[in-house]
């Protein structure tokens, strides 16, 4: 009986530490993916500024320069635009985001901003495109830097809480 109890405590501690580790990894993934999205917007800005590329063409070109959820997102965008089934651009954009949402670790605010971008791209002239993209690039870059600054401390907190939580549960059960 004691062995079973010990095994249970060990498993509990492992589980709670694992949970703390997972939350930590989630934070790191969020920061990394925001960085990838920022990079995508920078590339898109370049394509529009230098070549006045239309959006469908830009997404097709950028597919080869991206990986992970960005690549999947661009694939969905290209497929949606090529279908030309009468959907508005923002509808195709939101559909593409929803198709990759399981893969991304963004906060609700970041997800909302990403969706809003779809209603602002393609509107008015070249200068407008550059300014809109610049605004979002600046926001996401600042967010990435903020997350980087917080990362070490946040991960430590998650790990400590994970361990402490597991210990507390173990004590209560014992």
């Amino acid at each position: 009986m004691e062995y079973i109890t010990m095994a249970g405590v060990v498993l509990l501690l492992m589980g709670s530490n694992g949970l703390g580790y997972c939350f930590c990894q989630q934070k790191i993934r969020r920061r990394r993916q925001l960085g990838e999205l920022t990079q995508l917007l920078i590339l898109l800005q370049g394509e529009i500024r230098c070549h006045k590329t239309v959006l469908e063409e830009a997404f097709l070109i950028l597919q080869d320069k991206t990986s992970g959820f960005c690549h999947a997102f661009l694939q969905e965008m290209v497929a949606g635009l090529q279908q030309q089934d009468g959907c508005r651009f923002v509808e195709i954009w939101n559909r593409a985001i929803l198709s990759v949402q399981e893969q991304v670790a963004f906060s609700q605010e970041e997800r909302k901003l990403w969706m809003e971008l779809g209603s602002r791209i393609g509107y008015l002239d070249l200068q407008m495109q550059e300014q809109v993209l610049e605004q979002y690039i600046t926001f996401f870059t600042d967010r990435v830097h903020w997350l980087e600054g917080q990362e070490a401390q946040t991960c430590r907190i998650y790990r400590v809480f994970g361990a402490a939580g597991g210990l507390l549960l173990a004590v209560l059960l014992l």
Binding site: K52, T53, L81, G122, L124, D125, L126, M128
Partner: protein, 330 residues
């Protein structure tokens, strides 16, 4: 033949994709030969009109063509908006310059004329357009062989003649130019009149001649043709001469002083020029301030007048540099 038919079918599908859902469905089912469709006109709160075999018809709600007052489809604001978004690939910003000039050229080389409320800057120059409510889709057709009758007149002493194609709008001068370029580029290796292919440079300012899409010409301009896409004609002609060593330079719709200077440059460099211009006759050309000097100096060796009778692209008359009639349709 089957390959050409497939290509024509693909072109039709590409064109239909720019229309909103409802219009696309009805247009796809129209019992018309797409090769004979010349224009499709969309006007807000007005019937959808189509120019087919030189006649205007209204497109009916239940499908088919008919008179304007017999149940024609009425175009809504939403349909114009949706069509414009599809035409511009949701990227109107990429067509700023074209919108200033009043048109957008789409994949396939079709020219979409647009009209709405212009936005002007402090110097009253057109900056852009808003409330675009009128679209005129001029359907482009590649007609291989339409220049067959013309080609023998463009050669003399084993050299191509400096040629000016003259025609009013919608008489097929761009289609004719396209086929002339193709035949010059490919040459004619067989037959009594064996001709070597020539290196041709095309300045395709409006993307109508080659209809390049992502760098690939959608029309066949021949195996020895280089295309400067979406390039201003005057600069394009100079660039081609300096970098691509063309034996022939082809341009569409010349009309400005800068273009005239560039044409002189091309001719002085030893290349031959094939150009088109709006006009109805030699008398009309002589009154154009830009061209009157060139005509007087006999720089062009062939003048080809096109007409739409009996069909679009018919050669009405051909003159030499001394304005002597070489061919007349009548």
């Amino acid at each position: 033949m089957a390959k050409e038919a497939r290509k024509a079918g693909k072109k039709k599908e590409q064109l239909m994709k720019i229309f909103s859902g409802r219009l696309r469905k009805i247009l796809m089912q129209l019992p018309v030969d797409f090769a004979e469709v010349q224009e499709i006109r969309m006007r807000i709160h007005a019937p959808l009109l189509i120019v087919y075999q030189n006649r205007e018809y209204a497109v009916l709600e239940q499908g088919g063509l008919g008179a304007v007052d017999t149940g024609a489809i009425q175009i809504t604001r939403e349909e114009i908006r949706e069509t414009l978004e599809l035409i511009s690939n949701h990227s109107l910003y990429a067509y700023e310059e074209e919108i200033r000039q009043g048109f957008i050229t789409i994949q396939g080389g079709h020219r979409v004329g647009i009209a709405g409320k212009t936005v002007v800057d402090e110097r009253f120059m057109i900056k852009g357009m808003k409330y675009i409510s009128f679209l005129n889709i001029r359907v482009s057709h590649e007609v291989k062989g339409c220049a067959d009758k013309l080609m023998p007149y463009l050669w003399g002493k084993n050299q191509v003649k400096q040629t000016l194609l003259i025609s009013p709008p919608c008489c097929g001068k761009t289609t004719m130019l396209r086929d002339v370029v193709r035949q010059l580029s490919n040459g004619s290796p067989d037959g009594a009149e064996r001709r070597e292919g020539l290196t041709v440079g095309v300045v395709d300012e409006r993307s109508e001649i080659g209809a390049c899409y992502m760098g690939e010409p959608q029309n066949d301009l021949g195996i020895r043709t280089d295309i400067l896409d979406c390039c201003p004609k005057a600069q394009g002609m100079m660039m081609l001469i300096r970098t691509m060593s063309p034996q022939v330079v082809a341009v569409d719709e010349i009309g400005s002083r800068e273009e005239l200077d560039a044409m002189y440059y091309v001719m002085n460099c030893g290349a031959k020029l094939i150009a088109t211009v709006h006009g109805t006759s030699m008398e009309d050309i002589r009154t154009k301030p830009i061209l009157t000097q060139m005509v007087a100096q006999r720089l062009f060796e062939r003048y080809v007048i096109l007409d739409q009778i009996p069909t679009i692209g018919s050669i009405r008359q051909i003159f030499d540099e001394g304005e002597h009639l070489l061919y007349s349709q009548v």
